[in-house]
């Protein structure tokens, strides 16, 4: 195996939570509000099914091929050529997704704080830091997330508590004014975020206890659901109709906090949450990309290719979109279908093929009284 380290199920959950939530916090409220209007807080609830389904998929696949990641077992499930092709699609997808992610990070930092700093510097510094974490390996990342994630979640909930006096519950009504349709439409985009839980299938082989890993995967989906609903409710109760016209509602919400005239200008907390969370998120994707590429090319170690991949991610980040509008338009329209088809449909096909193969293999094995085929 390329990765020698092991992580605990809790560490896996702590890696997965920011891997989903980090970018949700800023972009998703306004994207869902465009379709769901008043019902934007319902959308994550409809969408969470995708999260559970994907975690279930990765657990099932992991049971069929223990100690192997999706890149490795796609060859076993689909055959050499098709398997390599599917692995390639996954890798290309994660390459693209990581690029988009670092660009989202860069857009936010340059749009809200560092107006004059070139994008390449903002993205480059982040990718460099992430590459150190990736070089450190999975154990290092797991431990880093144990320190960072609880702080991030606590700070985030603190923001919500400080805003309570400005929230207006009446903004919640009327619930489902135009039926269930708008909130379902709004749930398509959050679904593409939930589908990122397929990353679990890359981490599960290195978790000490797979069964507990599955359980903690589901808990992670619950926590993500909770934080998404909290974010959307906060945005809705504070801004009402205005939510869809704000680019970063959470950022503006933090800026709106004013307690007793001196607890003000808290947007830096949002910055801290965002940067810490995105660090974990990019690291996880980056790691999966590096490890997957090494496995795909059958290298003996993934570390030598980490820095070159980092450079490619930097370029991908710069080329991913021309501007923020293009980026969030992509995520809100064709991007959702693209992300869902690769992270949900493709693993599902893999699972189907793998189970059929196994059944056929067993039948054959029984007939010939041999031990089951060892892939």
């Amino acid at each position: 195996m390329l990765e020698q380290g092991k992580i605990s199920p809790v560490q896996m959950a702590l890696l997965m939570i920011p891997a989903i939530i980090a970018t949700v916090l800023l972009l998703v409220p306004s994207i869902t509000a465009k379709h769901a209007h008043h019902d934007l807080w319902l959308s994550p609830i409809w969408a969470c099914g995708t999260g559970f389904f994907v975690v279930f998929l990765s657990y099932k696949l992991n049971k069929l091929f223990p100690e192997k990641t999706i890149i490795e077992y796609s060859e076993h499930a689909l055959g050499k050529i098709l398997g390599k092709l599917v692995g390639g699609i996954f890798l290309f997808f994660y390459f693209h997704a990581t690029g988009i992610m670092v660009r989202e990070y860069g857009e936010f930092v340059s749009g809200a704080a560092l107006f004059h700093t070139p994008m390449a510097v903002i993205i480059g510094t982040m990718v460099l830091v992430c590459s150190f974490a990736v070089l450190g390996g999975l154990e290092v990342m797991g431990r880093a997330s144990e320190i960072i994630v609880p702080v991030v979640i606590l700070l985030y909930i603190l923001l919500f508590i400080l805003l309570i006096k400005d929230l207006e519950v009446k903004n919640l009504f009327p619930i489902m004014e135009k039926g269930i349709r708008p909130s379902l439409m709004g749930s398509i985009v959050p679904q593409s975020w939930y589908s990122e839980f397929i990353l679990v299938s890359f981490l599960l082989p290195y978790v000490t206890n797979q069964k507990k890993g599955f359980k903690w995967g589901l808990i992670a989906v619950f926590i993500v659901l909770f934080l998404m609903v909290l974010t959307n409710i906060m945005a809705l109760l504070l801004f009402g109709n205005l939510t869809s016209s704000l680019t970063y509602p959470v950022m503006v919400a933090a800026r709106y906090i004013s307690i007793a005239d001196f607890l003000e200008h808290l947007e830096s907390i949002v910055m801290a949450i965002w940067i810490a969370g995105t660090f974990i998120k990019i690291t996880v994707f980056y790691y999966v990309l590096a490890l997957g590429t090494a496995q795909w090319l059958k290298l003996s170690d993934y570390r030598p290719i980490v820095l070159p991949i980092g450079f490619l991610i930097l370029l991908q980040g710069l080329w991913a979109a021309r501007d923020l509008q293009e980026l969030s338009h992509f995520l809100a329209t064709s991007g959702a279908i693209y992300i869902l088809s690769i992270q949900v449909v493709l693993p599902f096909i893999l699972l189907l093929c793998a189970s059929i193969r196994k059944k056929l293999g067993q039948r054959k094995g029984n007939k010939q009284n041999e031990t089951p085929v060892n892939h």
């Binding site: 560092l114 107006f115 700093t117 009446k170 135009k178 801004f239 109709n241 205005l242 800026r255 200008h265």
Partner: protein
């Protein structure tokens, strides 16, 4: 092997030293002494095409010694500076203003925006857009409409507070008039009716005629907007009624005259909450204002014995009537004369009757003036003060 590690070590150190050069600063470093901290901004209409942006810049003063110097210098040394520039839009004017300021304009501390009457009459939506869109402007900034030119208001030197922005901020926190932040204004503008209201300020005539600038501007009423254009003003006593309808009442003294005696009883409203309950009955649109308030007696010039619970109870309906009178006055002026929905009636109906609303929303302008207002006022006098 040893040589290699020495080279590696040396290279690492070299890079670490080199990084110092880039770490010492970046593209976006902002030193406090290079920033012009803007505490208030005023927008004036100069001509049909041009607006004038005036900003109140805070001048940071050094330590104790200069404070003493200021006190000795007959208190006239100002801590603020007003600069202005003209332009087609606010952003355009800001660019021209920057030419006149040696320091970089910094909007992060702007708490007060003043619009002049002419500008308000022409429409404010475009200017609100700038305030909401600019990345460093905060959404909690308060907006006022002024009867005089905003530039003139900003130039005042308040005797008690640091500068005018502090005065207006504190005044609006009393909630005797409306307290409208940029966020609330933007919400009203995209709301169901699109009508809005802003606090109206005028300059308080100075006590000392020789120092005409040593005074403040204060909230004297409310400017009423139809969509984003100002159509009228209501005075401060009518504004109280508006506050009851908007559930923004915080404190206030209500004076009632009990029948069959001479004199007045004044009560201090300590807690008040109100709620709009809409109802559509036989095609008639009705709003019921449910309000609950608790108050203390602060003055009694009558011969009534207010320590007697029966007397106290008999005062409560009188108080309710007085409150309703205020609200009715506000409603008459705003709803019937100006036909502007600043109370949020449209939202109330939208929430309760979404289907009917979606069918009738295009006709809201015709429906609104005929919406009937009913009252359900509960007043409770809790205490009679410290004497009996």
């Amino acid at each position: 092997m040893k040589l290699r590690s020495i080279i590696e070590n040396g290279l690492l150190r070299f890079f670490l030293i080199c990084s110092v050069i880039s770490l010492s600063g970046c593209w976006d470093r902002n030193e406090v002494n290079d920033l012009a901290l803007i505490t208030a901004a005023g927008f004036d209409m100069v001509s049909d095409e041009k607006i004038e942006l005036s900003v109140l810049v805070f001048i940071p003063k050094g330590g104790g010694s200069s404070d003493q110097a200021m006190e000795s210098g007959n208190g006239g040394a100002s801590q603020t500076l007003v600069r202005s520039a003209e332009g087609k839009t606010v952003a355009d004017a800001m660019a021209k203003l920057q030419e006149k300021l040696p320091r970089k304009i910094f909007w992060g501390h702007t708490d007060v925006f003043i619009l002049d009457e002419e500008l308000a009459k022409k429409g404010i939506a475009g200017h609100v857009d700038f305030i909401m869109r600019h990345p460093t402007l905060r959404e909690r900034g308060q907006i006022f409409v002024s009867s005089q030119k905003a530039k003139k208001v900003l130039k005042l030197m308040p005797p008690l507070e640091r500068d005018l922005s502090e005065v207006l901020k504190e005044l609006s926190q009393h909630k005797l008039g409306l307290n409208i932040t940029t966020k609330k204004l933007a919400q009203m503008l995209i709301g169901d009716s699109g009508d809005c209201a802003l606090p109206w300020i005028t300059i308080l005539p100075p006590e000392n005629k020789e120092k005409p600038k040593q005074t403040i501007a204060y909230i004297t009423g409310t400017a009423i907007f139809k969509k984003d254009k100002m159509i009228g003003i209501i005075d401060d006593s009518v504004t109280r009624g508006v506050l009851w309808l908007r559930n923004e009442i915080l404190l206030g003294v209500i004076t009632i005259k009990p029948p069959k005696t001479d004199g007045y009883i004044s009560v201090n409203v300590l807690q008040a909450q109100s709620k709009l309950v809409p109802k559509i009955q036989n095609g008639k649109w009705i709003i019921t204002l449910k309000s609950v308030s608790a108050s203390d007696i602060v003055q009694n010039t009558t011969k009534l014995d207010v320590s007697n619970p029966v007397v106290l109870k008999s005062l409560e309906p009188l108080l309710a009537k007085e409150i309703e009178k205020r609200i009715k006055k506000a409603r008459n002026q705003v709803q019937e004369e100006m036909k502007a929905d600043i109370f949020g009636f449209a939202e109330a109906f939208h929430r309760k009757y979404p289907d009917v609303w979606n069918k009738k929303k295009n006709r809201w302008n015709e429906i609104y003036p005929n919406v009937e207002l009913k009252f359900d006022t509960k007043c409770h006098i809790r205490r009679q003060g410290l004497t009996s």
